[in-house]
């Protein structure tokens, strides 16, 4: 649980991005990501090994899908499903990789924790907690030389602040004013006046600020607020102001409480956006329901939301079916792509 009062004030959020686009534009990537993971959790018999899901963290992924431009690069983490799904990666290819099949981008040699999609600017996904962060530095530098105005979005979790690579990278990005947006998907509860129980700093933003990487903290239970924050920071970076940092403070989905995720909350029912719930997940923390609430308040009908949801759910289920039928790669695939032929 995250204590109320430790978050940015949502009353001050003005959703500029949302006024200029289709009102449900943000709902679609949110639902793609949510249904992808929920349907995955109903098919764990097909998964080999350890995996993570993005449930509860979809707001940053959905915001990325609105803010990213062609030519931008992205580094993600072992918790990557929402990033790919929200950006429109082929869902059957994603499922196939998670199931260890040849149809996956990595031909079944990466699995859930290494999903990437070069066509979307996600070149390589490190499954180490801070592994992708130093790599984002060089990608940002390349962009600064070859594509002025393009940025690299570097996603990582709050736990990465325990490792030195993040601190080295914040410093170097700031020294060299790299076009880099650090996005921390933070689902660690703050407390005792500290960012979380593993950090002595008062906030993660304070750590970034110590390296003069300026930024914002945002309540990532509210996707529209994340779009505005990420958009504003990305614009500053595109303008050549050097790197920025976003502390995206998400709720904690109860299903992450154990080592392997489990479907602790059941399939999301968008009708809960209209009902009172007595659990914090449905009443305050779920970014999908919160976006539905925003849409309902803006006059979008529940039936319209449900129709979008049905369409997306059918799309995801179709992708799952195709992946389940995909074959495993032939044995020689174990030995290809180790080094250049």
């Amino acid at each position: 649980m995250i204590e109320r009062g430790t978050r940015p004030d949502q009353d001050e959020v003005v959703c500029r991005s949302m006024t200029t686009t289709q009102p449900t534009e943000l709902l679609e990537p949110l639902l793609l990501a949510r249904r992808f993971d929920e349907i995955l959790l109903a098919n764990t018999d097909a998964i080999r090994g350890h995996f993570h899901v993005s449930i509860g963290l979809e707001a940053t992924a959905a915001a990325l899908s609105r803010v990213r431009r062609s030519g931008d690069l992205i580094t993600t983490t072992y918790r990557n499903h929402a990033h790919l799904a929200a950006l429109g990666s082929d869902l059957s290819v994603m499922y196939a990789e998670i199931f260890g099949r040849d149809l996956g981008h990595q031909r079944g040699r990466g699995g859930s924790i290494h999903l990437s999609d070069p066509g979307l600017g996600m070149l390589h996904t490190s499954a180490m907690v801070s592994g992708g962060v130093p790599i984002a530095l060089g990608q940002a530098y390349s962009l600064s030389r070859t594509r002025p105005g393009a940025v690299c979005f570097c996603f990582f979790g709050d736990g990465a602040f325990g490792e030195g690579a993040v601190h080295e990278s914040l410093n170097l990005a700031s020294l060299w004013r790299l076009p880099l947006v650090f996005v921390c998907e933070n689902n660690a509860p703050p407390g005792d006046g500290r960012a979380n129980d593993q950090q002595s700093a008062v906030s993660l933003l304070a750590i970034a600020e110590a390296h003069r990487v300026h930024g914002r903290a945002v309540d990532a239970r509210h996707p529209a607020a994340v779009v505005d924050a990420l958009e504003a920071l990305a614009e500053e970076v595109r303008d050549g102001d050097g790197p920025r940092f976003l502390d995206a403070q998400a709720g904690r989905w109860p299903g992450n409480a154990t080592f392997f995720p489990h479907d602790a909350t059941g399939r999301t029912d968008v009708r809960h956006a209209q009902r009172d719930a007595d659990d914090p997940w449905r009443s305050t923390d779920d970014p999908v329901l919160n976006e539905c609430r925003r849409l309902l308040a803006a006059g979008v009908g529940l039936d319209h939301i449900r129709a979008i949801d049905r369409r997306i759910t059918a799309e995801v289920e179709g992708a799952l079916g195709r992946a389940r039928l995909a074959p495993v790669a032939p044995p020689e695939a174990a030995f290809t792509d180790v080094v250049a032929p």
């Binding site: 690069l73 580094t75 996956g104 981008h105 990595q106 031909r107 040699r109 990466g110 290494h114 990437s116 070069p118 070149l123 390589h124 996904t125 490190s126 180490m128 592994g131 962060v133 130093p134 790599i135 984002a136 530095l137 060089g138 990608q139 940002a140 530098y141 390349s142 962009l143 030389r145 070859t146 690299c152 030195g164 690579a165 080295e168 990278s169 410093n171 170097l172 020294l175 060299w176 290809t336 792509d337 180790v338 080094v339 250049a340």
Partner: protein, 319 residues
Amino acid sequence: MTSTVTYWQARAAALGRELDADARVVLVGGYVSAPFNPPDGLLEGYADRVLWPPISEAAQCGFGIGAAMSGLRPFVPIGTSSFMFYAWPQIANEAPNIRYLSGGLVTAPVVFHVMAGARRSSGAQHEHMPQAMLQNVPGLRILAPATPADIDGLIHAAFRCDDPVLLVDHVLLANATGEVPDNPDATMGRADLLRQGGDVLIVAYSLMVQRALVAAASLDTQGIEASVLNLRTLAPVPIDDVVHAVQNHPATLFVDEARGPGSTASYLMARVLEQAPSTVARLVCSKQAPSPFAEELLDEIVPTAERIALTAAAVLRES
């Protein structure tokens, strides 16, 4: 045509040639020759192509990987080889896996450069041979030049390779002299028979090649004719070249500045004995203790030309 130059001159000329040839080449760090080599003018001549990262090896090496993945040709001088322990996650666990984990769609053609081995009187923490540990990492190419022609040709090869490369350099090679061809000539993965002699084969790389040549000259005076095979590439190790050379000699020494366990020499010897079981072979590796500061003590640990020659004479007596 060839010209005779020192190793440090050949290195600077080769890097300058690559910088001139390709605007994508960038040096991520400047300690490729300084501070333990004669001034070569490289950093001054290409100041706008040299980035100076803070002392942040993980960020520096990750930077090189990310830049390589997205279109540049970074050369990352890490300096003393043990500094790369502080970038181990990037060198051992990110760069070598990128091609495999992207299904062959993405590569990271970054060149990491380290000054490895005992440079004498730097002590236990500055005289490692960490590339021995990296032999266990598929996806990484490891080069270990020993001559001016090697550094010239292998720098050329490294920049034309689409895989991450670790270039294992050595401070004490700086003043080695040799001929360098007008056009760079070194094929990654091929060994080079530097000296031909019928009695004993000495297989070595990096500084140990120079010591093997000294040992061979000394053996000559005892009437023992030694061949010296320069490996040049440690990964992929040129096993066919080694087996072929071994089979043409009655006895073979595998010489390695790395400690024996997990060394290139011990792996090569195992592979050779698999393919040519009757081979008479000995390992000459650094002994299993840290590098001591006092040079007299260091010479007890790291193979000297004298130890190589004595071992060669002994194996011929015993076989």
